[in-house]
Amino acid sequence: MPTLKIDDITLTFGGLAALSEVSMDIEQGLITSIIGPNGAGKTSLLNCISGFYHPTSGEIHYKDNRLSKASPHQVSSLGIARAFQNLELFSGMTVLDNLMLARHQKLRYNILQAAFFSGKASREESKNRRYVEEIIDFMELEPYRKHTVGNLSYGIQKRVEVARALTLEPSLLLLDEPMAGMNIEEKEDMVRFIFDIQQEREATVVLVEHDLGVVMDISDHIYVLDFGELIGSGTPEEIVKIPKVIEAYIGED
C-alpha cells in the first residue's frame, strides 16, 4: 500500500495545464525521484502535495488523509516537510535560531508561560533545543551553529534548508533540487545525507532533481514528467530504456 497516493490530478492556470492527469504511488520508506526538463511541472506537483496549490481535479491522499484541499500548515502537521529549491531561511538569523524557529509548530505552551519563561515554556524549549541539536549533529552543522545564515556558503545553506525541514520530524520529506548549484564534494555529502535520512530517520523521501547521475544512483523509483504529463515510471534501469524519456532528455537522433 503506497503511503502517498496521487490520483489523476490536473492543475490548470487559466488555459495552461501545468499538470494533466498525473498519478503516482509513493511507497513507504523508499527514495522516489521526480525528474523532467524545465517547466515539466515537478515543482507544481510538490506544491500540490504540500498544499500551496490545490489541484483543479483529482485527489491526493497521504495515509488516510486527503491532501487535495488541505492548507500548508495542515499538511505539515501530518508529518510532511519540504526543503525548498530557493532557500526559505531567515538570512539574518543564525543557523540555530532558524532551526529553533522552524519547530514553533511543535511548541506546546501559551503566551503567558512564554512571557515569564516559566515551567513548561523553559522545559519545552530545552527539549526542542535538544532535538535541534540532534539535527545539527545529523547534518554535521556544528561548525556553523552560531553563524548567520546569510554569511554561509551556498552549499551549507542548502544543508541548513534540509535541516530546517528535518526539525519537523517528517515521515515524508519533499526535497526540491537539494543539489542545484553544488560542487561534486557537496553533492556527495548531500547524497550521503539523503541516504541517512531514509535509513536512520526512517523517512520516505521524494526528490526532485536535475542531476541525472545522482538520481539514477540513489532512487528506488523514478517518475518522469514532461509538459505536465507523466511519460514514464519505473526503477532506474527501466527508465533509461523508455524511448519517450530518452527523447525528452536527449532529443531525437
Binding site: R129, R130, E133, E134, I136, D137, F138, E140, E142, P143, R145, K146, I184, E185, E188, F195, D196, Q199, E200
Partner: protein
C-alpha cells in the same frame, strides 16, 4: 607538593586507579556533544576503562595483542587504549586521515587483531581492505550512525555492547579487574606510536608505561600545573604530543582534558574552554596568527590604530620578558596599558587569555612568530624531541625563551652532540625500539643513546640549537652548507606565503616554489578589486606575483649569507596536500617526493630562459574521481642575486 617519583612504579591503568583515589569526584574528561559540555569524573573514567578491559578480554583480546585506534579524539579513544593496556595488550594510534591501503599495510605490520573506529567513515576503510587483514577479529565502533546494515555481522561490535559485556563480567567477578592490572609492569610496552614517516611507511615505536609517566612527571617539574587546569585535546591522538598529555601529564597532575565537538569546531571550542596550556605544531600557531591579523584587518579604525601602536610596545616588552631582564618602569606601564586595552581582549576572543604556557614542537618556528606571540601576551615556548623520547627532550624555561634555540634538557634527561654533529639524548622516556625492525632499532639506540638524526650544537648558555635534519642539510655547488627548512620558515613568515619549497642542492643558487595563503591573499585581492575564481586562478595573477616578489626581495635583503638569497621563484598552482602525499600527516614537507613530482618545474627554475610554462594539474577528489586542468605558470628571476 608530594614527590611524584613514586608514580614511576605504576603502569598507566594503575596510575588511573591511584588518581581515582586522589581526586575521584573531580572532572577528568569533558566532551562537547549536542552543543553541551558533558563531564566524566575520574570515577566515571575508571568505570568505563574497567568495562572496556573486561569486555575486550571476554571477546578474545589477550595479553600482547595489538589494538589499533583510528578516529577523531573522543573520550572513548582513551577508554579503549587504557582498557587494552589493562589486559597487557598494546594500543596503537593510526592517523584518521590515513588511506585504506596504508591502513592495511600498518595493520599487517603491527599484527593488529582488533580495531577501534569512531565512525562509519573509518569503518568503511576497513570494509574496503577486509580481505587483506584476515587477522583482525573485531572492529569496534563508537558512532552507530550509518552502521545499521553492519550489525548482523559479528565482525563489528558497537561500543555500548562492549560496555555491557564488560559490566556483566564485573558483576560476576568484582575482583577481576584489579587483579588484572596488578599484573602489569611499568616497563611493559603499552602503546605503539607511529613516527611521522618523512621517508616511506611509518615505523611503530614501542613505548612503555614508564616512558609516558616519566614524561608527565618531568614536564611538570619545569612548568607546574594545578589540577584545576584545563587542556583542549585537538591534536591527532596518534601523535606523541597528544598521548604525552592524556597518558602522562593528565593522570600525573589531575588536569581536565576537553574534547572538541568535531575537528572543524576545535577553534570555537578553544574559545569556550580557554585552556591553561597547549601544545601544537607550528602550523597551528601560524593559523591562529593569520586569524588574528585578519580580525584586526576587518576591525574598525580605532581598534586597528590601538593594535598597531600597542603591538610594538608589546614586542619591546616581550624582549625583556623572554630574557628575564628587568623592564624599565615606563615600558612596564605602557605594556600594561596595551594589555588591558587591546591585547587581553584580543586573545580572549581566540581563547588564549587564560593560557599560561603554549608549546610548539615538531618543526622549527620562525623567530618573528615567537616575538609576535610573546608580544600579544602568550607565553609561547619551543620544545624539541622525537616520538622515540615521548616528544620532549629540550624545553625553554620561563624567562629564558630564545627564538633561535629550543631550550635546555628536561630534568633526568642527558644530552650530547656526536662527532658528526648529531643530537643524542638519554632518559627514562626513551622507547624500547621499533616493532619488528631490529636493524633500525640498533641504529636508533646505538651505544645506549637515542639518535635523533638532527644536526645541532649546544651554545655557551647550554641551549640547544637545531640546524636541520642531518640528511636534509644541503650544499651548493661551491660546497657551502645551508638548511632549506630555515629558509622556508623565513619565507613562511610573510602572511601571504603558506608553504615554500627551497631547492639548491649542488646548484649555483637557491630557488623556490611558493604556495600562497588562500585566505590572506584572497582577502588582499578582494581589497585590491582583483577578481579571481579558484586557488589556481588566484595564484596565477600577475599582481599576486608582484606581492610575493616584494616579500622575496625583503627576505633577500635580510639574508645572513649571500648564498642564502633566492635567485628564482615560481608560484605553485595548487596547495601542497597530505592527500596527495606532498605533506606528512603532521604537515611536514616530503621534500624528496615533492621534488620528483614537480621535476619539470624544478628544471624550469634552473633554466633562466624559461619565463612561462604550461602545466597540467591533476586533481583527485576524495572519492577517487580525477580531473586534469591546464594552467600557465610564470617564473621570476630576482635582480641583483648572483
Amino acid at each position: 607538593m608530594k614527590d611524584k617519583s613514586q608514580l614511576l612504579n605504576f603502569t598507566i591503568p594503575q596510575l588511573l586507579r591511584w588518581r581515582v583515589k586522589e581526586t575521584g569526584a573531580k572532572v577528568a574528561l569533558r566532551e562537547k556533544d549536542f552543543g553541551y559540555w558533558n563531564n566524566y569524573t575520574w570515577n566515571d573514567f575508571y568505570d568505563y576503562v574497567r568495562k572496556i578491559a573486561l569486555g575486550l578480554e571476554k571477546v578474545g583480546v589477550k595479553k600482547g595483542d595489538k589494538l589499533a585506534l583510528i578516529g577523531d579524539n573522543i573520550p572513548e579513544m582513551l577508554f579503549m587504549a587504557i582498557g587494552a593496556q589493562s589486559i597487557g595488550a598494546v594500543s596503537a594510534g593510526i592517523y584518521q586521515t590515513t588511506l585504506p591501503d596504508e591502513i592495511a599495510d600498518l595493520i599487517t605490520y603491527m599484527d593488529v587483531t582488533a580495531v577501534f573506529c569512531n565512525d562509519q567513515e573509518q569503518v568503511d576503510k576497513l570494509v574496503e581492505i577486509r580481505d587483506r587483514i584476515p587477522q583482525v577479529r573485531k572492529v569496534i565502533y563508537e558512532d552507530p550512525r550509518g552502521m545499521r546494515d553492519y550489525r548482523a555481522d559479528d565482525w563489528y561490535l558497537f561500543i555500548e555492547d562492549l560496555y555491557e559485556i564488560g559490566a556483566v563480567v564485573h558483576d560476576e567477578h568484582p575482583e577481576k579487574y584489579e587483579a588484572m592490572i596488578e599484573e602489569g609492569n611499568p616497563d611493559d610496552v603499552c602503546h605503539f606510536c607511529l613516527t611521522s614517516g618523512t621517508t616511506g611507511l611509518p615505523k611503530a615505536s614501542m613505548m612503555t608505561h614508564k616512558n609516558y609517566i616519566n614524561m608527565g612527571i618531568q614536564i611538570t617539574k619545569v612548568d607546574k600545573l594545578k589540577n584545576t587546569d584545563e587542556y583542549l585535546s585537538f591534536l591527532p591522538f596518534a601523535w606523541i604530543g597528544e598521548q604525552m598529555n592524556s597518558f602522562g601529564v593528565a593522570m600525573a597532575t589531575g588536569i581536565t582534558i576537553n574534547f572538541p565537538e568535531s575537528v572543524e569546531t576545535s577553534m570555537e571550542d578553544l574559545k569556550e574552554i580557554g585552556p591553561h596550556f597547549m601544545f601544537g605544531a607550528p602550523r597551528i600557531y601560524e593559523t591562529i596568527r593569520s586569524q588574528i591579523w585578519l580580525k584586526i584587518d576587518e576591525s574598525y579604525w580605532l581598534n586597528r590604530l590601538l593594535y598597531n601602536k600597542f603591538i610594538k610596545v608589546g614586542e619591546k616588552a616581550a624582549r625583556y620578558r623572554m630574557s628575564g631582564e628587568h623592564m624599565p618602569a615606563s615600558l612596564r606601564f605602557t605594556s600594561w596599558l596595551g594589555k588591558v586595552l587591546v591585547l587581553d581582549p584580543l586573545i580572549n576572543q581566540i581563547g588564549l587569555r587564560r593560557l599560561r604556557r603554549a608549546y610548539t614542537g615538531g618543526a622549527a618556528l620562525g623567530p618573528e612568530l615567537f616575538t609576535f606571540y610573546q608580544a600579544i601576551g602568550v607565553n609561547l615556548k619551543q620544545i624539541y624531541g622525537q616520538t622515540e623520547i615521548v616528544g620532549i627532550a629540550y624545553m625553554h624555561r620561563d624567562g629564558d625563551v630564545r627564538s633561535d634555540t629550543v631550550g635546555k634538557p628536561l630534568p633526568e634527561t642527558e644530552c650530547k652532540i656526536s662527532e658528526q654533529g648529531e643530537i643524542l639524548s638519554r632518559s627514562p622516556s626513551v622507547c624500547v625500539g621499533y616493532y619488528k625492525l631490529d636493524e633500525q632499532t640498533e641504529e636508533l639506540l646505538e651505544g645506549g643513546w637515542l639518535h635523533s638524526g638532527d644536526a645541532g650544537y649546544i651554545d655557551e648558555d647550554g641551549h640547544l640549537v637545531v640546524i636541520d635534519r642531518l640528511a636534509d642539510v644541503m650544499h651548493n655547488s661551491k660546497g657551502e652548507m645551508f638548511s632549506p627548512m630555515f629558509l622556508e620558515n623565513k619565507l613562511k613568515f610573510s602572511p601571504y606565503i603558506k608553504e615554500a619549497i627551497i631547492f639548491g642542492d649542488k646548484r649555483d643558487s637557491v630557488s623556490c616554489l611558493i604556495n600562497i595563503d588562500p585566505i590572506v591573499v584572497g582577502k588582499w585581492a578582494e581589497d585590491q578589486g582583483i577578481s579571481f575564481t579558484t586557488y589556481m586562478d588566484l595564484s596565477g595573477k600577475s599582481e599576486v606575483a608582484e606581492l610575493i616578489k616584494e616579500a622575496v626581495i625583503d627576505i633577500n635583503a635580510r639574508a645572513e649569507k649571500d648564498y642564502f638569497k633566492i635567485k628564482r621563484f615560481a608560484i605553485l598552482y595548487k596547495l601542497l596536500d597530505m592527500d596527495d602525499g606532498e605533506l606528512t600527516k603532521t604537515g611536514k614537507l616530503r621534500r624528496k617526493f615533492v621534488m620528483e613530482k614537480y621535476k619539470d618545474l624544478y628544471d624550469a627554475l634552473y633554466d633562466e630562459s624559461v619565463r612561462k610554462k604550461k602545466v597540467e594539474a591533476f586533481f583527485q577528489y576524495q572519492d577517487g574521481q580525477t580531473t586534469t586542468v591546464e594552467a600557465e605558470m610564470s617564473f621570476y628571476t630576482m635582480e641583483g642575486v648572483a
